[in-house]
Symmetry: C2
Subunit: 144 residues, 2 copies
């Protein structure tokens, strides 16, 4: 939607970590990358960023890897979005004006804002664990 490609990859990666969370396993970069069908290098950078922002956890050395705590597993996915695309993700104007607001709106402002806010709500209401469920149940997929 207004998510960068990197951010989409990040969400998929985190959902995969949520799957691993159930068995208490950590996941390595290669592991994640192959499951979500993304480049190892890209996934590596993303996971590091997320770890730095405490959206996920990491452990170095053999037996190391990336993992979620219970609290992290119950985070809304908007946390991932904020960590990767920044806090401004849900503030952008539909027509690209830098200062679009109720007091100085673009011609699409009001209708666009409704949609944007709705998407924000979805991202705030859906926890990582929620999205994980659909994949575990075989209802949804993380790759084609």
């Amino acid at each position: 939607m207004m998510l960068s490609l990197t951010c989409k990859t990040a969400i998929k990666a985190v959902i995969y970590l949520a799957i691993k969370f159930k068995t208490g396993e950590k996941a390595g970069i290669k592991n994640v990358a192959s499951y979500i069908n993304a480049s190892e290098h890209t996934v590596g950078k993303i996971l590091q960023s997320l770890a730095k922002e405490s959206v996920i956890n990491s452990a170095k050395g053999p037996t190391g890897g990336f993992y979620l705590t219970l609290k992290q597993n119950n985070q809304p996915i908007i946390n991932v979005i904020y960590a990767i695309d920044g806090k401004g993700s849900f503030e952008e104007c539909g027509l690209g004006l830098s200062k679009c607001s109720a007091t100085h709106p673009c011609p699409m402002h009001y209708e666009y804002k409704v949609i944007r806010d709705q998407f924000k709500t979805i991202c705030r209401d859906n926890k990582i664990s929620d999205l994980c469920e659909t994949v575990e149940d075989g209802i949804a997929y993380l790759m084609d």
Copy 2:
């Protein structure tokens, strides 16, 4: 939203042509560019593309320029989007899967689709002339 920067500029340019439509004037590239605060070169390419797709009209030579017919003025803005970003604009997956659908959904598919379709509806229901009105009335703006 899922619109490219070029497409956003295109919409603003077309709205400006709708303003000119009222007085029957044609608008030149410089004219449009300065009003919507965009690069002349960029606006030039955009207007040419739109003319080629018959979303707008053009006339060469002195007294030439770009303009709308009555029919074009009443087009929905989705026509502009299709011309610039292509027909696939409203089909993209929220998580970037190339084959995301009801039969093979990503974890966000259903909720995302609702939003995406809603945005599509807005773009189909709003005519160029509608958006022009808000600018003419001083309610909305095309630049900061």
